[in-house]
Symmetry: D2
Subunit: 265 residues, 4 copies
């Protein structure tokens, strides 16, 4: 019975001004549309396809930028960690710590995040069946943390391609935690550009609408004012100015689905 | 800009009374909800998993039943053909002739159906990429028939499982023909019960809503008053009495998506 | 304990002389290498990707060519049927009638072939789990015919790609019938060239050797003196002059696997 | 032109005596059969499906056990690392450091291992196309280390299942580094037992033989005197006493493939 939450921001922190500008735009848009909002940005892309790719400002500088934006704009922030030594400080600042999809089976990382984070967002690995997320949940719960989000971001489908199996959303929801749909990573074509992943930005609105129609608690989107110049994941990032239309439709669909439920005893 | 069409009926003709009763129920429901309706029933399930399975009344008797129902209820009817000798008579009676998914690469069948049918519904094979449907369209168009529907019904995903790649719907729509989503066959688990295909009925509403949110021209559903006693595809058939709720939500979602489009110049 | 059989020939009959020349070459090579041989050629490619593609001489002319080659060279011949009206005459001439992979679920075709053919070769559909072949076997056996071959030819793997799951060979063999590996169709890239299927000829020797090492009863290969000029499936057909090396290695591997078995009590 | 290497050992160090006994058995068997041998054992299974599963003695104790076995038996040893703080000491003792499949995209881990390890064994992720391994190789090579092994261990195929695409072996070999086939992890059924991965031990010999027939530089096998009592990956571990037969056949097949090559100019 909760309204859908928006988790959005740039793939990676490129520099503070740009990151702050995006956050401000999103905060205002979300308020206008009456959508709860969490700002997302990564300080380090530790698993880029190629080592020549831009990785971000790194942990120390990046976490400071997120801290400033969080305080100045008074918005909750989400980011991901890849190394144990990042967790403690990340937990001080971040409202949500995200377990990257490739790392969703690393027990130590998960339990240490579980111990320290206010909220843990588990990205379901591309190699994982939806019912196998239960084992990850148990790793988090074993540390006494039950503030968990589960994020669907597509499943391996042949080579250099992902498919979203929308049956996963109700399966994941049965676990009793909010389920988020990551519409921009779900349209990645992993490794599809040789030394970088390709993406199908034009497919994001279709999949975001589909997810809302199936029923989700949150929508995760990577955005950029000019994705063609983005330093990371440009091909699957959304243009900022396409967000209002998309969110309006998603909200209407979410409303139709909620109405259906509320009629039921 | 057209409203969504419903194509629905039992998997197979079990006997005339039951088939007629289902058709009447659906006709009335569709009229009440202001949804254009085409009645669907097969006279012969020629590719059952096992030869011990019920196949239907056969062509001669089945086509007569459809003819009677069509005339008496004044509704358009759709059915599928598997053998060349069925095409001529089928074309006389049926409003839409359907090419079964497993046969979507059989050139002779397709062109002969194209020559005679008013409308051809191509079911995309579970083994086919969405962009490869173009070659089938060209086979139909080469016979001067451009009354074509394309139906998505899921794609092979490992063994005994299908996945719906919802990116296929906009890809198929680019071809310029109405695109139908078959929500009940898409949840089949092929061969999943040893000598019959299993199915996940509970997933049908999720996928039907998702398809409407992505954007479709028609929704295809197999229904039965008591799927537990259905002689074919029971596990993925919908209970008749769950249809009103499902269609109401689908229609609302379709409206939200249409509204989005009409705002655009 | 039987030696491996070679089933080989061109994808389609292009004209009688070429077909006969290939058959003669293969017959002599097989005799030299002491490998039992069945000649394979199709008279009609009824499920080409595009209707613009060459289909062959058609049934009437094609079956006569096969009849002549069979008599003149005194070799067993295999071909496939797609339409019911072809079965009776095909059964008079052919030693093995093949059920095409796309048609492996068409009950009527299978039982009618079962009733008339000396030997039935079932090509496992690209959409079928190996354990589901049992239902097809039962359709054949229900007609009193137990002269059955089962052919593996790859499984759907994402779009426009097949993968050979070599676990299927021992699973299929458990059914008690000879298992054939089709090494040239297994490297097809279905629809991979837009209006035709691509293929990875260079992968054929690897997969043929792998199949022999796993354990098979027959190896199926499409060959052509100049695949670049072949009218069908050129990209995955083998150059005739690469056969001796390939067969020598396959035979050596088959010998190693047989030796292993014969040591066991 | 090099003979095939055997990399084998238990999934995890259960205790020192058992580990040593396995190592001794394998060393003697390999010497007898004239097969170069590297001993493999993990000190920590950091990505078990469930947190209730046995993980091993941990790094400190485990690395000491491996050090003792290496010195006493005078054999090279391989193990895997999951955390940065393990790399330095691991590099002092291990002959080969392995990058786990789930971590094959973690740039920091790879480059730090590359900087310190004598030899790096990259396990190809289940989510990775074979041609995308090139980007990982470049991460290693960028640190001046070109002592690299690449290990194939299967690819995602639907849910809870892997398939080995044997086309990957020649594709990986084109990169110019030795290619290893991991025959025991390739038959895992990930998550297939709810809180643990299942496995198909009976499929290991088939796939190992297939890999040898395709052409590999090394064969990786997890073994145990009694897999039914193994604390990790029992379902896909081989009984020690089945090794001699398997290795004899694999060696014969490898010989047939090498003979083929040596005939070529």
């Amino acid at each position: 019975g909760q309204p859908l939450v928006l988790i959005a921001g740039p793939c990676v922190i490129e520099h503070e001004e740009l990151t702050r500008a995006i956050a401000l735009y999103l905060k205002n848009l979300a308020r206008e549309m009456d959508i709860p909002f969490i700002f997302k940005a990564s300080f380090d892309k530790a698993n880029r396809t190629s080592s020549a790719a831009y990785r971000g400002p790194g942990f120390e500088q990046g976490i400071e930028i997120l801290k400033n934006i969080k305080q100045d704009l008074n918005i909750p922030v989400l980011s991901d960690v890849h190394r144990h030594e990042e967790i403690e400080k990340a937990a001080e600042i971040l409202d949500v710590i995200q377990i990257p999809a490739f790392l969703c089976r690393q027990t130590d990382l998960i339990v240490e995040v579980a111990e320290r984070a206010r909220v843990v967002n588990i990205k379901k690995g591309q190699f994982l069946a939806p019912w196998d997320v239960r084992n990850i949940l148990e790793k988090v719960l074993s540390r006494g943390n039950d503030n968990i989000l589960i994020t669907e971001r597509g499943t391996c489908f042949g080579y250099n391609n992902l498919v979203v199996d929308f049956r996963s959303l109700p399966i994941l929801r049965r676990e009793g935690f909010p389920v988020v749909f990551d519409a921009t990573h779900s349209v990645q074509l992993p490794g599809g550009q040789g030394t970088a992943s390709g993406g199908q930005r034009e497919m994001v609105p279709y999949l975001a609408r589909a997810a809302a129609a199936v029923g989700i608690d949150g929508l995760f989107l990577e955005v950029h004012p000019d994705p063609s110049k983005a330093l990371c994941d440009g091909p699957n990032s959304l243009y900022l100015d396409t967000l209002p239309d998309l969110l309006r439709t998603v909200k209407a669909i979410d409303g139709s689905v909620m109405a259906l439920k509320s009629q039921r005893p």
